[in-house]
Amino acid sequence: MATEGIGEPPPPEVLTEIQGVIAKAKTGDTSVLPQLRAILDRHPGLSRHFGDLGKHAESAWIALAAGNNAYLRETLTREAKARRTELARPGATPVEALLVQRVVACGLQLDYLTAAEANALGAGDTYRQLQYHSKRIERAQRMYLSAMGALVTFQKLMPVPQVVAEIAMGDPVRADVGCESRAQPARVAPPRAAEYLFEEEPVATERDEPEPVLARVPC
């Protein structure tokens, strides 16, 4: 599968280093946090590189699904783009864009595998083949839900940088975030993925609780 054009890959030890630091932080060792921040600052292009990898995965699923059908390919590409725009907040950070990209790729994977299973049923495939398809679908569903969960959590907890949003909100080209926009937003945009998942308001977190109103003290 082609992975050309996604820029210089970050050295593999960077990811190992990050994972090592995360493992330490998960045990409650907060002393590693400055080191973690330093690694992220040292490699700002990390999420962008892997966001591009997500785009390649997306293209690969589209190519598998569409085959030689150019119309289907175009339709699926547009659909994926629309889903990216729908899920990402205007001025999303590269990490958020990467998470959105992961959701879109997982969604395409699930769609492809579901269609493949339907085709297999129609073609009268054997029990063993159908069993393989259903296992793949189960795994793809888990991946999709996990990707959605990660995105919702991230959007709930991390506000978009307090810089612009007006630009991204006003300009449809820049508003189409995904990996292509590098716009620096301004407004704290609501978590879009949560709207996508829940019909009603998502459950409020500690951060959503209103600030306590201070009583006025007479002078």
């Binding site: 990811l15 992220l40 054997t126 991230f154 951060r207």
Partner: protein, 105 residues
């Protein structure tokens, strides 16, 4: 389940080797001789070939998806690592796979 044919006195005898579920030992069972044994052997061979073809078809599908599966696995690992790194760096923590919370100072 493998099968074998023995020759003795110019006759063919069909035996099948199978593992005994109780003792766990491989035992050979006699299935007969003559046209009935031939038909059984043919049926077993056809079933073996069909299973091989099914396995091949599944392997082909798996090979088709191998490259994109690799990409998805890498994407998942990286996305999770970067998300966790960003949240930890922003002062959040998560104990025992519970919700992410702001670290108390």
């Amino acid at each position: 389940m493998a099968f074998e044919t023995r020759r003795s006195g110019g006759n063919e005898y069909l035996y099948l080797s199978e593992r005994d579920a109780k003792t766990g030992r491989v035992v050979k069972r006699y299935w007969g001789r003559g046209p009935k044994a031939d038909a059984a052997a043919k049926a077993l061979e056809a079933r073996r070939q069909q299973r091989a073809a099914e396995r091949l078809a599944v392997e082909r599908t798996r090979a088709e998806l191998h490259a994109v599966d690799g990409m998805m696995a890498e994407l998942e690992t990286v996305a999770v690592a970067l998300m966790e790194a960003t949240l930890l760096a922003a002062g959040f923590h998560r104990a025992n796979y519970s919700r992410w919370r702001k670290q108390r100072k």
